[in-house]
Subunit: 236 residues, 2 copies
């Protein structure tokens, strides 16, 4: 509550309800609210952020915000789902590309997912570990994330190395590949200003290479798989 | 604040200041406070937890708690440092064992660190991503974690595959190995009740295997390195 009062005195613009994009940012009101929530949730903390602070940061009144989001949980759910839905859509598309080796498709998924988690102005993956995310309201996010993990496991099972693994070993290996990709959330947090911030594409590619190593791909086949994976992402 | 009032009405035991271990748990008052803080910070959230709630959960008055900890930040700092200090101590010991291949020493470090992060009643690694941890009070934790990461990088640089890498590639590879190990924090969160909870030692060993794959060790040398790594941990 105190935070809100402080926010009100900072002189931030308090705008009217609007459905149009803002001329200065080119963003819709919904996008501005999500951006404000992303900043405040990751910089100040979810529990410490009020909907009023989000609305003010986005330049609108709290009442106008409720036109777009039902409350703080809706903002968090939208942010969380935005970190998994694009990768799941890609994974579903890749699952049908049987003419391409599963290893190359797994590389492409890892490359795109690592890039999604390691770029953007805020480290949204850090919100995965909030205790609040265990609530029913976030069941849809958890379901999409589970589906994404299942898509990783299915691609892994279709690789040459994966097809040799026992069922329980495959499950552990899928967890480790998925954990390596989501691990970029922790790398990003611990290495602000590190080289990968200057070249996020190279870092995402190196992460995808590492994922194939965990999957059991021999080193000498990696260059070919990487080329095939890059081609998949260039023209999916 | 409301939480505190609710806590007070739950009938939890409120004890006197004491320096002795408790007969029923065998824990010191300090350990009981850390356990209570670990539970509340990870289950309810750090921002939402008061020192009073921690004291009550540990069965003592808030005033008695201040005998052991200066406040909530001290409790968090102690919990965070407890997740990295044991692994750093192990890493420093392993650094001197030049008669053992660097790969086996890296395996041992990964195995022990993954076990530390993936066992225990609470997923303390989830606290790494709190925005509060950026504050000066947690500089010591961040320094120990940086030292631990540097120890990983030094072992990696001493491996056969690592010695062939350019400096910037080595830094990225070290980040990925470290990220894979810390990634167990996210795996643990997303897979409650999963097989690795039933066999955490096997999961930690599989994670260490994966780390050596990321480090570039060929598959056929893994069994030997794992045996050497296990021997190092059995008689360090």
């Amino acid at each position: 509550m105190c935070d809100d009062r402080r926010m009100s005195t900072t002189g931030r613009r308090v705008g009217r309800p609007r459905a149009q994009t803002r001329p200065d940012s080119g963003l819709t009101a919904r996008e501005e609210l999500l951006g404000a929530a992303a900043e405040l949730f990751t910089e100040r903390g979810y529990a410490a952020t009020t909907t009023r602070a989000v609305a003010e940061r986005a330049g609108m009144r709290q009442a106008s915000m409720y036109h777009y989001f039902g409350g703080k949980e809706d903002l968090l759910a939208a942010l969380l789902e935005g970190t998994v839905r694009p990768s799941l859509a890609l994974a579903l598309g890749l699952a049908a590309r049987h003419e391409v080796p599963a290893e190359a498709r797994l590389w492409a998924l890892c490359r795109a997912d690592a890039a999604l988690l390691s770029t953007g102005p805020h480290n949204l993956g850090a919100l995965y570990l909030l205790p609040e995310v265990r609530a029913d309201r976030f069941a849809a996010f958890r379901a999409v994330r589970d589906d994404l993990k299942a898509a990783y496991a299915a691609l892994l099972a279709a690789t040459t190395a994966g097809s040799d693994l026992a069922r329980e070993d495959l499950a552990v290996r899928a967890d480790l590949v998925f954990g390596l990709i989501e691990g970029v959330i922790l790398i990003r947090r611990s290495s602000p200003g590190h080289d990968h911030e200057h070249d996020p594409a190279a870092f995402a590619a190196a992460t995808a290479d590492a994922a194939l190593r965990v999957a059991g791909c021999p080193e000498h086949v990696l260059p070919k798989l990487r080329r095939e994976g890059e081609a998949l992402l260039a023209a999916p």
